[in-house]
């Protein structure tokens, strides 16, 4: 199997995930409360994805964990105080760069 085959099959499978319930709903009755539960998809998905992506550098020994941890804390603190997400992200990224630079000097 070539790289192209892998990428086309993976793309087809991903598209089937995207389209699955959208078309199946015509034939299936949506379970009661599905719309209510849909409101929890974003918090659960974003927290799960962010945690899974950040745990590796956080668990790593050395400066990377400290830099990523500081950036995450600053991002969450700014966002939960009502800053727009883009501003909170910028604050987190600047923190990541600053802490990484300081650790590289020492």
């Amino acid at each position: 199997m070539t790289a192209w085959t892998v990428i086309l099959l993976a793309g087809l499978g991903s598209y089937l995930f995207r389209v699955s319930i959208v078309f199946a709903i015509d034939r299936l009755h949506a379970p009661a409360g599905m719309e209510r539960m849909a409101g929890f998809v974003v918090p659960a998905a974003f927290a799960g994805l962010a945690a899974a992506a950040l745990i590796e550098p956080l668990a790593a020994r050395g400066g990377d964990g400290l830099a990523v941890g500081s950036a995450g804390i600053v991002t969450l603190a700014l966002a939960s105080r009502g800053r727009p997400p883009a501003a909170a992200f910028a604050g987190g990224l600047l923190t990541l760069w600053a802490v990484s630079a300081l650790l590289a000097i020492n």
């Binding site: 793309g11 078309f23 015509d26 929890f40 974003v42 994805l49 945690a51 745990i55 910028a90």
Partner: protein, 243 residues
Amino acid sequence: MTVTAPTATDRDTTTASFRGGPDLLAGARAMLPWLVGVVPFGLMVGITVGSSSIDHGAGLATGVTIYAGSAQLAAISLLEQGAAPAVAVATVLAINARLVFYSASMAPRWQGTSAWFRASASYLLIDPSYAVGAAGYDRHPGCRGNRHYIGAALVLWAAWQLSIIAGYLAGAGVPEALHLEHAIPLFLLAELGHSVRGRPALTAAAVGALVAVVGSGLPLHAGPLLGIAAGIGAAGLVEGSRP
């Protein structure tokens, strides 16, 4: 050549075709803040393609076919390491299995629309387009919400493809010290901190993160998927127990 003045029917058709413009533009504008996290991540995907030994055309095509950053990176890195093709496909699908949750959430909103719309809108479904689209439907259900979603999703798709190409062309010119690999997780944290309010949603986030971390050692990147399912379930329990 004879030029005729537009008839009343022509004018009505023209007006109708532009009626959705403001909603499309509002969706596109709502997506712009997301691009500060999406573009750096796209650059990093492009840089990874450029530095890999796999067919660069195939690596760049992941943006169009797989259209999900972490799954694209996993596919490129597994192919680069010489993993079995079946393992690469299975890993991408495991990472993207969360898209079924987004599909389930959008399905009732798109019920009754044309098959063409549902097929196209589904292709564009990914974390940022889902978040911006769902917020748009909360304000404007129905057709206006559909146009808002499409406006946002098209901007995201174009920005993603362009940033991958830009990263590929810039290659080693982008310093590693920028840590672009952390851009998307940090932006997801920013969205979470900004929008999650109330006990059920906080429970969804806390349980989702905890289970994803505990399951981070599981094969096929199953941790996030389990985290999402557990987070949704826990939030439902908390909401159901409220008086």
